[in-house]
């Protein structure tokens, strides 16, 4: 019997003139960036779940609906990436005026990436250990990776990803799972920091029903397709690589038009990816709309739209076309259970 809870909060009025496509909270959860069909990106300060008065900024620069926004790691400053139907990826940076540290800064466009020939549907910053790098997925079937260099210039790699179109990208954690558990000398002040070898790798989701894993070959300086994950029967809408919290396993979650969410696990760098479907029929997520037929086991009632991992990677949030967001957790027996359901 699910327990009921009500969340009473004042919504943030974005004043977007059209539907919102994406919203992202920054690294500290204090700033909210939204993007919309109205071709703008907006940034708000959020205090206790509510908008800080007078904190809104509107970032104009796209010539079409803006699909996604992504915050860079704070060590690079306040930097946002946005991607749009106009085929562009824009990088925005906030700067403060002299003596106005506390006041709202000024957002300026610092880079325009226009190598794609169709809508760019997804942007994702790489783990900060790898540098300031953005991966992009486009309807032109290509993936691109932008790399910010120390001299202030950008480099771009672009390559074929998924026929028909690429829907989403998600970076692997910078360190190989399990490597952080291996005992190593703790860095002490005065000694150089020791960090395990970083890995440049990301997953992409496409309209070819596939998920592909890409790795950067340092020798050839090129992106190489390492693995293909087959399991969905329709477009893969979203992909999310779980953060590495020292667990020996790698986890990837994928959401598809085929109404399933698959969890892909890989026990070691050499073992294969094994897939498990989330089963909403065994949980609160099975509470369907009155009158609607119940979804078969392992399937959600509608298209699954988005998947996202919590900070430590132990909770997976899923949004479905049935108007509900569900939270999933792997229990002590290794079974995925729905632990929360958010509905209007």
């Amino acid at each position: 019997m699910p327990a009921a809870m009500a969340s009473d909060s004042i919504p943030i009025e974005t004043a977007h003139e059209d539907m919102i496509h994406d919203a992202q909270l920054d690294y500290y959860g204090k700033r909210l960036a939204t993007c919309s069909s109205d071709r703008t990106v907006k940034v708000f300060d959020v205090v206790d779940g509510e908008q800080k008065p007078g904190s809104g900024h509107t970032l104009k620069g796209h010539a079409g609906p803006v699909w996604q926004v992504a915050w860079a790691h704070p060590k690079y400053g306040h930097i946002l990436a946005s991607c749009s139907y106009d085929g562009k990826v824009l990088i925005w940076k906030e700067e403060h005026q002299q003596g106005q540290a506390r006041s709202a800064g000024v957002w300026t466009k610092v880079k325009e990436h226009n190598l794609h020939s169709a809508s760019v549907n997804s942007v994702c910053w790489a783990p900060h250990e790898l540098g300031a790098i953005v991966a992009c997925a486009s309807s032109d079937g290509k993936l691109s990776v932008l790399t910010f260099k120390n001299d202030g210039t950008w480099g771009a790699d672009i390559f074929n990803g998924h026929a028909i179109g690429c829907n989403a990208v998600s970076w692997a954690p910078a360190t190989i799972p399990g490597s952080l558990i291996t005992p190593h000398q703790t860095s002490l002040p005065g000694q150089p920091a020791q960090s395990p070898a970083a890995v440049k790798r990301f997953a992409s989701a496409g309209c070819d029903n596939l998920v592909r894993i890409w790795g950067f070959n340092e020798e050839t300086q090129a992106w190489v397709e390492e693995e293909t994950l087959e399991g969905h029967a329709d477009w893969v809408r979203d992909v999310a690589w779980a953060p590495n919290i020292g667990l020996p396993r790698s986890y990837i979650a994928t959401a598809s038009q085929d109404k399933t969410v698959l969890i892909w696990t890989k026990d070691s760098p050499t073992s294969p990816w094994v897939k498990t479907a989330l089963d909403p029929s065994s949980s609160a997520a099975a509470t369907v709309t009155p009158g609607a037929p119940p979804a078969p086991a392992g399937r959600f009632p509608d298209v699954v739209w988005r998947v996202s991992w919590s900070l430590a990677g132990n909770i997976l949030a899923v949004s479905c076309g049935d108007g509900k967001v569900t939270l999933w957790k792997e229990n002590l027996k290794g079974v995925w259970e729905c632990v929360n359901e958010m509905s209007s």
Partner: protein, 714 residues
């Protein structure tokens, strides 16, 4: 168990869900990294939505984002409970770690078991306080709906019985446990009520009341001897002479009921108990001799009730079990009175067996989590107990599991897949809950850092995301706040990192703090954080930013900014390291600012020394040579004083020559770029022309030096 969270105000009314979905919309979200929160918003789902066409004609104008928490954020009372008990947790951890490191073989020695019991007792005291407090505030509607008085009461009873069963007094496990169990029962499940006793005692002929016999049997069963004796004595007024006689004898028996605490040795206690039971058996013979026609008064069959009472005293298990059930008691009442009436030698080790047998006939209540937890604890099933405790309150499971480890109740090996122990999994679940309030980050980190490498990794993520609040504090007291106060949070995080040896995390936080401070133009503090992070390239970038201030705004702002960063240089010179190039750049900035300061304050001769020294010591980056050479012109032009020696002037000439040659080779920007920017010139060639003046000045200067006939005039 899953929880449904509903938004108020709703994104759409529940009854309108179908229309909402038909319009092609669904709900999307983003997770908040620092709390158990997500932001929800309506978004178009339509598969062909990527047409790029505006959608506004179909949808309402409001585009709102809801930020909501999937755990209830702790109320102030709950926070207090969390904070207070975290201190006990830390003490418990410290003790366990100490023993593990120094005397692992003595983990379950009397001394440490006593200490564990004491700490468990501290937890119990806090829960008891919460129970009392929450019971008093039950009528406040805004308060937490989950953590009611009843909730804390169930935690109180559960942790208390855990302490009774697994943390014996003085750490001695192998002793009769009957009295302790009865005490727990009488403390937490009071029966019969005081009101009933008061009511009956007010009656002249209490046996005429329908509750009399039940009351008398239950007070006897519960070991409440004074009440038993009081009402047995009241029976001296009963019309039946047989009952008068038997009750009198029962009083005499109960008055001499041997209790463990009154005996020095177990042997004496057992002997006394055996003899005492013989007296009860003797009374049974007399009871049996009561004629059938005198066994009932006008109200009740007193003989049956006295027989039950005597049966319990005689130690008849079947009587005790039947009577308990008839009185409305449960399995707990049977087991907790077992060691007083049936088997006075009952040991803790025997409890799972007895409990299993009792529960076979009188099962626990599956609808009550509290009862299920008690049952698992009696049955010696710690894993099942933790699972139920987790459903009651993640706090309870985490802290129970933490205590279970040193007691050897849980496997301390890590699970192959999760790399976590059972204990760690429950403690991490509690830490997850704590994240619903980002203000509790210190506690979240404390708990996570007790969970091995995986917990430490999780703690790192929490630490990295604690807002540094630099902007806020800067704005609040711009004028009066010292830089030290500004970074209070950063210091706090740094200390936590030191405590748990999270050095890479500490460095990253210092780097981010430095980056933020640079944005705020607090260069001095930014540099000290760079040094703390040992981020030498970062230090270089800050110095470049400061030098850029000179280019953009001239010497006045530059000198005041450098005054801020100069103290860092002294710190660096004391600690040599592999960061030469960046320290050189900082030295240059400081020396150059000093030069300007001296020039402006009239110490012109010292300023000249500074200028020359920057060339002599190779402090000046090549890109600044043009600027320095240009700065030297006024000194050379001074008609009254020769500020440089001939050798100094030669050095200036050599540098000027190099600049000219490199410019001729097309590398002018490397030497004159900064000068061109400071003077708003179009490029290196124009800048070089400006230096033509210097060439003439130098020629004249050499001539003056020869005329004066000495190498240096001050």
């Amino acid at each position: 168990m899953s929880t449904c969270v509903s938004l108020i105000p709703p994104l759409f009314e529940e009854s309108c869900l179908e229309d909402y979905l038909k319009s092609g919309r669904t709900v999307s979200f983003t997770l908040r990294p620092t709390a158990n929160e997500l932001a929800l918003f309506a978004t178009p789902l339509d598969a062909d939505f990527r047409t790029g066409q505006p959608t506004s004609q179909n949808y309402p104008k409001e585009q709102d984002v809801y930020v909501t928490c999937w755990d209830e954020v702790p109320t102030s009372e709950r926070r207090l409970f969390i904070t207070d008990t975290s201190i006990i947790f830390a003490a418990f951890r410290a003790l366990v770690d100490h023993v593990k490191t120094n005397e692992p073989e003595l983990m379950r020695a009397m001394e440490y078991m006593t200490a564990f019991r004491k700490l468990a007792g501290d937890y119990i005291t806090h829960i008891q306080e919460c129970w009392v407090h929450a019971s008093q505030t039950i009528s406040r509607p805004q308060e937490d709906t989950r953590f009611t008085g009843e909730h804390y009461r169930s935690m109180y009873t559960s942790l208390s019985i855990f302490q009774t069963l697994y943390l014996p007094e003085e750490g001695i496990d192998d002793v009769p446990v009957g009295d302790e169990l009865l005490e727990w029962l009488n403390t937490h499940f009071i029966e019969p009520s005081t009101e009933e006793g008061d009511q009956l005692s007010a009656l002249e002929k209490p046996w005429e009341d329908e509750t009399f016999w039940q009351y008398l049997i239950r007070v006897t069963l519960r070991g409440l001897t004074k009440s038993s004796i009081f009402f047995l004595q009241a029976l001296s007024q009963h019309p039946s002479e047989h009952l008068q006689m038997i009750s009198e004898k029962l009083v005499s028996i109960l008055e001499k009921h041997p209790r463990q605490k009154n005996y020095a040795t177990e042997k004496e206690f057992f002997t006394a108990s055996r003899r005492w039971k013989d007296r009860a058996k003797a009374l049974r013979l007399e009871l049996d001799r009561v004629p059938d026609d005198d066994r009932q008064d006008e109200f009740e069959n007193w003989w049956d009730n006295i027989s039950d009472l005597l049966g319990i005293i005689e130690g008849r298990a079947e009587v005790l079990q039947r009577v308990c059930v008839e009185l409305g008691g449960d399995w707990k009442e049977i087991i907790c009175t077992w060691g007083v009436w049936i088997d006075v030698g009952l040991r803790r080790a025997e409890l799972p067996d007895i409990a299993g047998r009792v529960m076979y006939d009188v099962p626990s209540d599956p609808s009550s989590k509290e009862d299920s937890l008690h049952a698992d604890l009696f049955l010696g099933r710690p894993l099942q107990a933790l699972s139920v405790a987790h459903d009651i309150d993640v706090w309870l499971a985490a802290h129970l599991a933490d205590i279970m480890i040193p007691l050897g109740l849980l496997d301390s090996e890590t699970d192959d897949e999760s790399k976590l122990t059972i204990r760690d999994q429950y403690v991490i679940a509690y830490a997850d809950y704590l994240q619903s309030d980002p203000g509790l980050w210190r506690h979240t980190v404390d708990y996570l850092c007790s969970c091995g490498p995986v917990g430490h990794q999780m703690a790192d993520e929490i630490l990295l995301r604690v807002p540094l609040r630099l902007e806020e504090s800067a704005g609040k007291h711009d004028a009066e706040t010292s830089d030290g106060d500004l970074a209070e949070v950063v210091k706090d995080i740094n200390n936590t990192c030191f405590e748990y040896q999270r050095e890479p995390v500490r460095r990253m936080i210092c780097k981010v703090a430095a980056q933020k401070l640079v944005m705020m133009k607090k260069y001095g503090l930014a540099i000290s954080y760079c040094l703390s992070a040992e981020d030498w390239p970062g230090l270089g970038r800050i110095v470049d930013r400061v030098l850029n201030e000179y280019i953009a705004h001239g010497p006045s702002r530059f000198t005041s900014l450098v005054a801020d960063i100069a103290p860092s240089l002294q710190e660096l010179q004391v600690e040599p390291g592999p960061h030469g190039v960046f320290v050189q750049r900082l030295k240059f900035a400081v020396r150059y600012a000093e030069f300007h300061h001296r020039s402006r304050s009239g110490a012109v001769d010292y300023a000249a020394l500074d200028l020359i020294s920057m060339f002599e010591e190779d402090l000046a980056p090549k890109s600044w040579w043009g600027v320095l050479l240009n700065d030297s012109t006024p000194f050379l032009q001074n008609e009254s004083t020769l500020y440089f020696s001939a050798a100094d002037a030669s050095l200036l000439l050599r540098r000027l020559e190099e600049v000219k040659i490199q410019t001729d080779h097309g590398y002018g920007d490397d030497y004159l770029g900064v000068l061109a920017r400071t003077m708003n010139l179009t490029g290196a060639k124009e800048a070089l022309k400006r230096l033509d003046v210097l060439r003439i000045c130098l020629a004249r200067y050499f001539a003056r030096c020869i005329l004066k006939g000495k190498s240096r005039i001050v």
